[in-house]
């Protein structure tokens, strides 16, 4: 809190920051060291806090359990959802903020109201719908219902565009630009920060999604990563814990790297939600 004060108080503060930070990160530490232990060491009592030997061959074994198709599926699933949903929410958010059209108010209310309807309410009918469309075990069935969850994004972008000065758009309109040109040439270039933030959050959500893929897929080669992982969690007797930990590490690693590089956007994006 206070940057000034006695040196020892400062030191205490820094130590507290470090201590609790390490505590928050401790589960990650446990995951990493155990993913490199041998199958014997990982279940040895008492547990070791540092691997005696580093077993890099666990990587290969874990990839075998995760199976490559789950990784590929997760990448496709995440990419489709992020791109499609982003496109929809940016355009809708902009229109709700700046265009005048019939039904604008009720439409906005509809998006806001559905934001707090728990997924479970729509889950069963969505499943029936997908099943009747014969979309079970297809990417259509996996992605479309998730893409349609736009209420949160629409609201975020609508708020962003409401605070965008009209003067910028008016100037373009005076020059005879239509909405399409205004949107592509003026609005999008100014939308970098919220787009980055929303992309970051959506990638994270999609990559980690479990409940819907669990319901919408039955075949092994349509699985996404969390489904493959969940199988490992059920019993450590079938999968040795070191391999399970390595699988968790491998599936989380891309997103950790992504986060470390995009941390700024997360923090600005999420924190920016309360500024204004």
């Amino acid at each position: 809190m206070s940057a000034v004060g006695h040196p020892w108080r400062r030191r205490l503060h820094v130590s507290a920051v470090a201590f609790f930070g390490l505590l928050m990160a401790a589960p990650f530490y446990w995951m990493i060291i155990n993913s490199f232990k041998s199958s014997r060491e990982v279940v040895a009592y008492p547990p070791t806090w540092w691997p005696i030997e580093w077993h890099f061959e666990n990587i290969e074994a874990a990839l075998g359990f995760l199976d490559p198709s789950a990784i590929v599926n997760s990448v496709i699933f995440t990419a489709i959802i992020t791109i499609a949903q982003l496109t929809l929410v940016v355009m809708t958010g902009f229109a709700l903020a700046k265009m005048h059209f019939f039904g604008r108010g009720p439409l906005l209310t509809l998006f806001v109201l559905t934001m707090f309807v728990p997924g479970q309410v729509a889950l069963i009918p969505t499943f029936i719908l997908i099943r009747n469309l014969n979309w079970i075990d297809t990417f259509m069935g996996l992605c479309i219902p998730i893409i349609a969850q736009t209420s949160f994004g629409v609201f975020i972008f609508r708020q962003f565009y409401v605070s965008m000065p009209n003067e910028i758009l008016d100037a373009a309109k005076i020059d005879g630009a239509h909405w399409g040109q205004i949107f592509v040439r003026i609005v999008l270039p100014l939308s970098g920060p919220p787009i980055a933030a929303y992309t970051a959050v959506t990638v994270l959500t999609a990559w980690n999604m479990y409940a819907w893929p669990l319901i919408a897929t039955t075949e092994r080669d349509m699985r996404v990563l969390p489904l493959a992982l969940a199988g490992l969690g059920q019993s450590f007797s079938q999968t040795p814990p070191n391999i399970a930990m390595m699988a968790v590490l491998l599936s989380t690693l891309p997103i950790i790297v992504f986060f470390i590089f995009c941390q700024r956007y997360f923090i600005n994006g999420l924190g920016g939600a309360i500024k204004e």
Partner: protein, 316 residues
């Protein structure tokens, strides 16, 4: 909009402005609005609105996915009151929400105050606090099952160093739910910390200086200056955490305990899944989903009564 119309009209632009005014009175060309909003509205209607209404409708039917749906009126809702497992899962859901929401709010505030500073190497530590935001619910469930292991897990090991023999966390009817909520708190803390950090950085430093001049110690500043100033964010964190726990708890509970032991973590989301996709009692499951919806709404109103305007620009 009208301000600029008169502010700097170049003479040549005047006719165009007049033309635009006519065109701009109440509505824009429906073509562009339809293009911008249409695709989303179609998808949203088909895959959100229709399923929500369908779910509500389904709750007054009896249907097993194969036969003809049979209209049963409010029978499903009456059955809930006689179903011990349903009542238990309602209670477990509320219990998990309280076990999760309160510590998340308190701890994220405290952490944000703690790390609202800077020193060499600070960003490394800040990353540590925010890291749980990246890990999926399923991955963390697998990880924490191992951490909770009563024999080789680090928690058991640390406790035994103090001569305490801990319970078998996930197999103990008393401890399973707090164990799940610890995972959820750990996962939800980063978002709270980020929001509180942003709020703390907006507090006018002069306020704190003034408090200091008036002789306020660190605690008094925290209590009388900082806490009241971040109140809107507290409400935001409360509701976002509530929403997160209701939406996410399925993954955690389903992977870590499957509702057990002895239904001690059998939250509504798990029971609904079981009813709908294992027992194929779709009507009854829909009725319970509706109950869940009502509970979320009530809890959201308890945590965030609509007495003030929503915080600036925020969804809640």
């Amino acid at each position: 909009m009208s301000k600029t119309d008169t502010a700097e009209p170049g003479t040549a632009a005047i006719p165009r402005i007049a033309a635009r005014r006519r065109n701009n009175g109440r509505t824009d060309s429906p073509f562009w609005a339809a293009l911008f909003v249409g695709p989303n509205v179609v998808l949203f209607t088909l895959f959100m609105i229709v399923p929500i209404l369908w779910g509500l409708g389904l709750s007054v039917f009896d249907w097993n996915l194969i036969g003809e749906p049979r209209f049963v009126g409010l029978q499903n809702y009456a059955d809930i009151l006689r179903d011990a497992r349903a009542l238990n899962s309602v209670w477990k859901t509320v219990y998990l929400v309280f076990l999760g929401v309160v510590p998340t709010v308190v701890l994220s505030f405290m952490i944000a105050v703690l790390i609202n500073t800077t020193f060499p190497g600070y960003t490394v530590f800040r990353t540590m606090y925010l890291l749980p935001i990246v890990i999926s619910l399923v991955a963390s469930a697998v990880l924490w099952r191992f951490i909770y292991d009563p024999r080789v897990g680090p928690i058991a090991q640390l406790l035994s160093a103090f001569g305490v023999s801990g319970p078998n966390w996930l197999q103990d009817t008393t401890w399973a739910m707090p164990a799940l909520s610890l995972v959820i708190v750990w996962l939800r803390l980063p978002l709270g910390v980020i929001l509180y950090l942003a709020a703390l950085q907006q507090i006018n430093p002069q306020l704190l200086e003034a408090a200091e001049i008036d002789g306020a110690g660190p605690w008094a500043k925290l209590r009388h200056v900082i806490w009241p100033n971040v109140m809107p964010v507290t409400l935001l964190v409360l509701v976002l955490t509530l929403r997160g726990i209701i939406f996410d708890s399925f993954d955690i509970a389903f992977v870590m305990t499957k509702g057990g032991p002895l239904n001690s973590t059998d939250i509504l989301a798990v029971y609904i899944y079981d009813l709908a996709f294992a027992q194929l009692r779709l009507g009854y499951a829909s009725a319970l989903s509706t109950v869940l919806f009502v509970i979320v709404t009530i809890l959201a109103l308890i945590f965030n009564p609509p007495r003030r305007r929503p915080t600036n620009g925020d969804p809640v």
